[in-house]
Amino acid sequence: MTTMPVPPASSGAPPMLTVGKPRRRRRGTHQAGPITYLLLVITAAIFILPFYYMLVGASRTMSEIAQVPPPLTPGGNLWHNIQAALEQQNIGKALINSVVVSGCVTVSTVLFCTLAGFAFAKMRFRGSAVLFAIAVATMMIPPTLGVVPLYKIMATLHLTAKLGSVILPSLVSAFGVFFMRQFLLQAVPDELLEAARVDGATSTRTFISIVLPIARPGMAVLAMLTFMASWNDFFWPIIALNSTNPTVQVALNNLGGGYVPDQSIILAGTLIGTLPVFLVFVLLGRQVVSGIIAGAVKG
């Protein structure tokens, strides 16, 4: 395959199927000129430089950061700063908490959204169009609007300041339902489901034996996007959790708002908090790109 952003469906199709087809002609028949390259390199640099600066600042001392001109290369103070940051604001605990929260949210989102996506993509039932329209419409509702009653619910359940308060509202996502429906529409051939039904397989059996194996690539992309979003979630965790039991983002907020005058330690904290997502991203960036594109193209 070329490096075009393929819709995730084709990554789910076995390579055998694409052999017979003529290759799609490349888009943008215009060859990129030197100016295009130059502009793109500059833009890419602007997008990547803050990360580089994070590394530079996190590996320097406070006084080095305060120099004019600012340092442009990493120094040798990284380990010291990381250790200092881990002692601040429970960052160690925050990392564990974030892994637990993002892990639970990802597993449940992928499972429930695959189920719902399969029903919307391949099953006929009364009211499916209306229900799906409702699900898509909820994507547009910002979560911050219901935050006061949500807080009240969590207080009633005695969950405030506990991880459950952050996990519960994120167990499903409308985007996930939409995404899995798009994926399964293309990936699961109707004949296969028909054959299974004729053979007397129940829906559940069909789902487990036929749909799940085919859905795996889509589920992987959704898992990645969900994990990233959950890891980076800010508004609700800030409200629901406190500094004694934080997620990484809450700890970073305290680090920035606390009385740590040492910028190098703050930057070391951001480095620690960003690293897990960044690793996922470096390894699987292409899939993230295809996932964003698939989610953006309204069916």
Binding site: R25, R27, H30, A32, T36, L39, L40, A44, F47, P50, Y53, G57, P70, F112, A116, F118, A119, R124, F125, M140, T144, L145, G146, V147, V148, P149, Y151, P169, E191, L192, A195, V198, D199, G200, A201, T202, S203, I210, I214, W231, F234, F235, I238, I239, V248, Q249, N253, N254, G256, G257, Q263, L267, T270, V277, F278, G285, V289, I292, A296, K298
Partner: protein, 351 residues
């Protein structure tokens, strides 16, 4: 289990079938339950009755399954999405202090809100920062998508680098940018000093603080929107471009009369999403002000989200916070309708 794989072989490409078969045989190992051969003529009555019962159960399962599959999503959404949204109205009609009972006060929260200069300040700041971040963000994204649409090498590298900011959390991005916008030894001021511009006190200026926050937002979302535009551009038929080229349209004319009309739905989508995002701005101004909900010394970057947070979780006035949330919701509805109407009207006027 052979039955499923044979059926699959009949109905699908061999390799999908083989993958199915392998997973199916690795499954729970029990065959489908209603796998009866067609009954011989001398079938016993009891057996037939059992078969019809089984068929009924099978049909019921097929009918009920889709509802069972979508129910987890809708149950959780109803409990933690829809109910809070509706309940916000109810709470906004009460005095509700954190940790105490609610008392009915009718529209008092709204009266307080609409006579509060800080609320109008927050609305205005949300609007200005929103415009300062949304407009450049979408224009830059369009230009960037156009560049990415050329065929080139190292394509993937460029695309992935475009959304690294999207993968960064609000907190991390803002903390780094706060450092870059520092007054005395910040990167931004150092670069400005090359051009003889004196050190800017980004955080304490009125417009400078808003511009700094808008830059953070723009940095985070430009690449994401560019990818979405790119996807839209690639779905435009190549024939249209060829036809335009044959008619002697220049590159710019092609962009103006083929690309832009083709992108219209995508552009509407990004405008709506960015507008909603702009009304929700919270993390950037909070962390830019070192975790204070004031939004600067004279509230020069206190957005509506920050204002709500301050009422609810700093002053513990949850009823007032709910009133702010509800007003925000109405504003969003109006904005979305307004956006949609403008795009529709443009479309009609151009026909």
């Amino acid at each position: 289990m052979s039955d499923v794989s044979s059926a699959a072989a009949a109905g699908a490409s061999p390799d999908t079938a083989s993958s199915t078969a392998s997973t199916a045989s690795g499954g729970s190992g029990e065959g489908p339950s209603s796998q009866d051969a067609p009954p011989p003529a001398s079938v016993r009555v009891g057996e037939r009755r059992r078969r019809t019962w089984r068929q009924r159960a099978f049909r019921f399962e097929a009918k009920a399954a889709p509802y069972a599959y979508v129910s987890p999503f809708f149950l959780i959404f109803a409990a933690f999405g829809l109910f809070p949204l509706v309940n916000t109205v109810w709470i906004s009609l009460h005095e509700y202090k954190l940790g105490s009972e609610m008392t009915w006060i009718g529209l008092d929260n709204f009266r307080w809100l609409f006579s509060n200069p800080l609320f109008y300040n927050a609305l205005w700041k949300t609007f200005t920062i929103g415009v300062l971040s949304t407009v450049p963000q979408l224009l830059l994204a369009l230009a960037l998508a156009h560049l990415l649409n050329y065929s080139m090498r190292v394509r993937t590298f460029f695309r992935v680098s475009m959304i690294t900011p999207y993968a960064t959390s609000v907190a991390a991005a803002t903390l780094v940018f706060s450092e870059l916008f520092a007054r005395d030894a910040g990167f931004a001021n150092w670069i400005l000093s090359w051009f003889g511009v004196g050190p800017v006190d980004w955080r304490n200026g009125n417009w400078t603080a808003q511009v700094a926050i808008a830059i953070i937002v723009t940095w985070r979302w430009t690449g994401y929107n560019a990818l979405i535009y790119l996807a839209g551009m690639q779905s435009i038929s190549q024939d249209l471009y060829e036809a335009a080229a044959i008619d002697g349209a220049s590159r710019w004319q092609q962009f103006r009369h083929v690309t832009l009309p083709g992108l219209r739905p995508t552009i509407l989508f990004t405008i709506v999403v960015s507008t909603i995002g702009a009304t929700q701005l919270f993390g950037e101004p909070l962390l830019f002000g070192n975790g204070s909900a004031d939004g600067g010394a004279v509230h020069q970057y206190q957005t509506i989200g920050l204002f709500m947070y301050q009422q609810g979780w700093q002053y513990l006035q949850l009823g007032k916070a709910a009133a702010v949330a509800w007003v925000t919701f109405l504003i969003i509805v109006v904005l979305v309708l307004f956006n949609t109407a403008i795009v529709r009207w443009r479309t009609r006027s151009e026909r």
